[in-house]
């Protein structure tokens, strides 16, 4: 099978974030540091800060389908369609069998299983009342499959399970499958429906890693001394990936070229991250991009607002970027919370418009910077205007020791 040295570009973005249902609004709110993290009241668990997405759930499929499928599927169908509209494409352009759908998930099936156990608890735990929808809803390819059913895509679809690095992992998968010639276009990204699961909140709480604050908008505080954990968010972001050649041929708007990526494993601990492997992951992505640390204009951190996680990432960044004067560092989770499987791609999406407006969106909720999280050019409070932004490095790490890094570059229009 020939491996083609295709250059892969992002030509469409569809997203649902806890503060926006499209890239333009999302960017505006990120630049303004406007969080819409709210409070949810979960079965068994009670109240907690969380990011909930508001979007037109029936724009691209009937309520009946949303009811039958999953929340992840609903988010995915919306974002995949929005990405195609944004790219100015229909599935017929490349042919339905030549499109691949790759969706990153931190977990899937947790929400549906919890709901069914609760359902049968109403019937004295008689499993005759267990729904026949359970298996199609909980197979791990579910959200990607719901996208293909909705759009009639007959090319490959599957999910990538990569904890909170999953969004980036799927983007990487999309690039690789296109280079292998498996598909001519990819819908790649990540989805999270985790806010529907009391167990996910309860588990973070049991770890002492669930963010809190009187005002839920202040609950996610990466790098701040008072940070106390993660804010769980739902969300999704799907990209249209095309080869540069095809994109130019049809006159597409090119958001960015994916020029470098890397993934590696800590091989060490179930939950604690490890800065050395994170540094190695960034190094490998830079090497593949043919870049040095000083070539990166914006570094979008993974930092979730946990004590140890933020410190480890800052150590990893310092090891590579301590002498780079022109790399600006920010954090998107402080505004939207942790969208788990969607985090990497959603956070990258929020920074892509920097190639046009040359702004670095701020990290919010930093009023008392932890000295262990001090980084040169850490953007807090207000957005920073740069002369030019040409490159973005996006970190996304996950439990059981998984690291991912993506580097994108502004496409310089020629002619």
């Amino acid at each position: 099978m020939p491996i083609k040295d295709h250059r892969i570009v992002i030509t469409g973005v569809g997203l649902a974030a806890p503060n926006a249902d499209n890239l333009k609004t999302y960017r505006e709110k990120l630049l303004a540091g406007k969080s819409e993290i709210t409070e949810v009241d979960l079965r068994y668990f009670g109240k907690a800060p969380a990011g909930i997405c508001t979007f037109d759930e029936t724009r691209y499929r009937k309520k009946k389908e949303n009811k039958r499928g999953t929340r992840a599927g609903c988010l995915g169908v919306y974002c995949a369609n929005e990405a195609l509209v944004d790219a100015g494409l229909t599935v017929d352009h490349y042919g339905k069998s030549r499109i691949g759908v790759y969706v990153g998930l931190t977990e899937h099936g947790t929400v549906e299983t919890e709901n069914e156990v609760y359902n049968i608890s109403q019937y004295d735990y008689n499993v005759d009342y267990w729904t026949h929808h359970h298996n199609p809803r909980t197979v791990l390819n579910n959200p990607a499959g719901e996208i293909t059913m909705n759009l009639g895509i007959t090319g490959p679809h599957y999910s990538i399970g990569a904890a909170c690095a999953a969004g980036n992992a799927s983007l990487i998968q999309g690039v690789q499958m296109m280079r292998l010639g498996e598909v001519d276009m990819a819908l790649a990204g990540g989805i999270s429906e985790s806010t529907g699961s009391f167990g996910i909140f309860a588990s973070f709480q049991a770890q002492g890693a669930l963010g809190s604050a009187e005002d839920p908008r202040n609950a996610c505080r990466p790098f701040d001394n008072s940070r106390d954990g993660i804010v769980v968010s739902e969300g999704a972001c799907i990209y249209v990936l095309e080869t540069l050649e095809s994109a130019l041929e049809r006159g597409a708007t090119i958001y960015a070229e994916i020029v470098g990526y890397a993934m590696n494993s800590d091989a060490r601990d179930y939950v604690l991250p490890y800065h050395k492997r994170q540094t190695e992951c960034m190094e490998l992505a830079l090497e593949r991009a043919g870049m040095q640390p000083e070539d990166i204009d914006i570094l979008n951190t993974h930092a979730t607002g946990t004590k140890q996680g933020d410190i480890e990432e800052c150590k990893a960044i310092r090891a590579l970027f301590k002498n780079t004067k022109n790399t600006y560092i920010n954090n998107t989770k402080s505004i939207i919370g942790h969208a788990m499987g969607a985090a990497g791609v959603l956070e990258l999406a929020g920074n892509l418009p920097a190639f046009t407006d040359n702004l670095v969106h701020p990290t919010i909720n930093v009023t008392d910077l932890d000295p262990e999280c001090e980084l040169d050019n850490l953007v807090t409070g207000d957005a920073v205007q740069l002369d030019a932004v040409n490159t973005i490095l996006n970190n996304s790490f996950g439990m059981v020791g998984i690291n991912s890094v993506i580097i994108v570059k502004k496409h310089q229009q020629t002619g």
Binding site: K62, K63, K64, K67, R68, Y123, D128, Y129, T131, H132, H133
Partner: protein, 83 residues
């Protein structure tokens, strides 16, 4: 439960499954599947709802009895007479 009440029950369950279902032109002696946006999973939803609402255990071999609105009523009439 009267035959009319059984008919209403079935339509109510179908409406829960698909609130866009259009009953205006529904012919009660023609297959529901041909007239509404229903598939085999939806029929299992109908079976499950009857189980939840009236503790009816409909054996799989009887599922064809639920094909039309009339056949539903005929099949359920004796089962729901005391409901």
């Amino acid at each position: 439960m009267t035959r009319d009440a059984i008919k209403d029950l079935i339509l109510e369950i179908i409406e829960d499954i698909d609130e866009d279902a259009d009953f205006d032109t529904l012919e009660s002696d023609k297959p529901l599947r041909d007239q509404l946006d229903l598939d085999s999973m939806d029929f299992l939803d109908i079976v499950m709802e009857l189980r939840k609402r009236h503790k009816l255990q409909i054996p799989e071999e009887d599922y064809p009895e639920l094909a039309t609105l009339d056949s539903c009523v005929n099949y359920l009439d004796p089962l729901l007479k005391d409901a």
